[in-house]
Amino acid sequence: MPLLPFRIEVLWSDVLVWLLVAGIIAYALYARRHPHLRAPWSRVARSPGAMAAATVLVFFVTTGLLDSLHYRPLLPPQGGKAVYATEVRSVLDLVLAPLRAQREKTYSAPFATELYAKETVKRADGEEVREFPRLRHGGKHLQDPAGSAADIALRAFRGVVVALLAWFAFALLLSAMLARQQGGGIEAAWRSMWSGLTPVPWRAVLATLGVLALIAGPVVALAPYYHVLGTDKVGQDVLYQSLKSIRTGLVIGTLATLVTLPFALVLGVMAGYFKGWVDDVIQYVYTTLSSIPGVLLIAAAVLMMQVYIENHAELFPSTEIRADVRLLALCVILGLTSWTGLCRLLRGEALKLRELEYIQAARAFGVSHWRIMMRHITPNLMHIVMIALVMDFSGLVLAEAVLSYVGVGVDPSMISFGTMINSARLEMAREPMVWWSLAAAFFFMLLLVLAANLFADAVRDAFDPRVAMAGGRA
């Protein structure tokens, strides 16, 4: 028998996601030891808005990372040989096992105990009636579905109490840590934390956490018993879908920007530094690329990729792997079509830098072009790169939804905000309207994009020398 009841399955996007995490950790360690990087980041850490946004982002990133650890469970043994399921699951699926398993027949409203559509049901006495059948899972512990409101209220209340206790414990722990750092008593630390006197605005973090706890507490308490956000057409829990969509959005938002980086950086620096014919060629390339309307270029490239995948089906053993490769290809396409803006910015900045005295001095000393670009120009462009990285993220998350609607987004089998909206849109005309999938996608996307935008603004304000000189205000 195998040692583990599962086999780890590493998808390509997982590799990149964890490499990215490693890269961020390495960058953080590097930035800690270099004052010119530590200063702007500590400015970010002192901004209450940025810290509140970061708290929300931590929730999203944790969900996304849990969803990036994939495995295939062991099937019940057949003839003494270990057989693993073909379906790839993630650790998040394990955490959300009840949500994943509790499938209904079709649509049901949030907290409903009955199906959304009437069905012909055969009673025990043989009589056939048209009625709303009870759900298989939502509220099945109830004897009488009429009492669901009281049950929901009770469970939600318990959830809130537990969440608030946990939140309070965290706040205490935090002030204990602060007290150790500052060398005062816990009480003093607690008071300075709440009056906003700590350098890092812990008050904003705690307030955000409090709001999150107030929402998450009842949801966690209710989710195993009810479909908190309803179910979709095939009876899948919408809360589960929303949480699964997070990874797709994060992967697209981060990996696509990473693809743009090498092109933008190398070509931008070269164009600005060498000028002359190198500059002409590079300018021509990016003008040509950016002259094609973005959606059309992406659509054309994705169509071609679809044809390729259709004609080479043998390369993709399972749906998850195919969807994963498609996701990566989408990131690459998004990256290849959108590096031009950043490249133009970097070229302009490199043009300015190359005229400065320290570069001229380096050239007079006979330092090679390569070394000047690597050592003297690129590091001085990094603030622009950092700003572009964080600013592009939210745009890409929004673009995914639109592209999936157009039909050139992620694989239809992959859960994403775009596919959620796309399938819910068809039910707009129904009476009464099926609104919960749309509402769920709306709120999760808004929260993610808003947090990313606020954080990006703080990073821009901290890194942009023009803003920093104007006293830190945009």
Partner: protein
Amino acid sequence: MSAYLLRRVLYGVLVLLGVNVLTFALFFFVNSPDDMARAQLGAKRVTPEAVEKWKHERGYDKPLFLNEKKSGIEQVTDTVFYTKSVRLFAFDFGASDQGRNIGYDISTRMWPSLAVQLPAFIIGLLVYISFALLLALFRASAFDVGGVVLCVLLMSISSLFYIIGGQYVFGKLWSLVPISGYDGGFEALKFLALPVLIGVASGIGGSTRWYRSIFIEEIGKDYVRTARAKGIGELRVLFRHVLQNAMIPILTGVVVVIPLLFMGALITESFFGIPGLGSYTIDAISQQDFAIVRAMVFLGSVLYVIGLILTDISYTLVDPRVRFS
């Protein structure tokens, strides 16, 4: 100056040449015409005869660059590259993979697109610039901070939700306008009102913030301080000096999109059932009609290049430094 503009036009042609070669490579090198035929005809059980027939009907069975079976000029002209790519420069878009005349479709469908896009563009410009000026006038006040936060909130909402929400509230709940459809003449107004409104609304967040940042940057410059020092009122400084000088960065971003208004808005048109070029493109993408997608890519680039040239011309109009250099 005319020499300068001529140079820009020639550069534009060069860019179009690049786009042409790039699209050709994308559509014919990544996948062979055989692959495309199989994808179009569906499934793997397609017979080779069916593939050949599909290719022949659409003219994909010719050699890519050089036809050795023909003689003289036809060696070059009777090829896929010439018929499908070079002919685009004469705005001969050929037939779609479904057999429709793309040139005719474009000439009829661009007007509904323009009918949505042009009013949305003009109203939007007025609304965004007014809001941005208002925020710039009260900069660094609670009103300004609130306005910027509202902008960030509005730009964090996917454009899909503006459309879905607008259709639900104005079309379904209040029944003010039909949810979707289109008609010619004055009847079109009731179909256009909502798409135009949504087009304006969905851009408010991002655009207002962008214009505001331009104005704020302009306000920080020395000439503004001089003007204030001379005792000119804040309103006059803002409208007379800042707005005028901010025209250059504004024109860079605005003029270039004017020709692209013809292309329509993909999502809006498909949601509202407007028979414009946007919904045409979406339909082509979902039917995998590569000929139409190729034509639209080229058309989009042509319009963008025209936009770039218009931008250059507009510079010469507003900036005397460009005019006299």
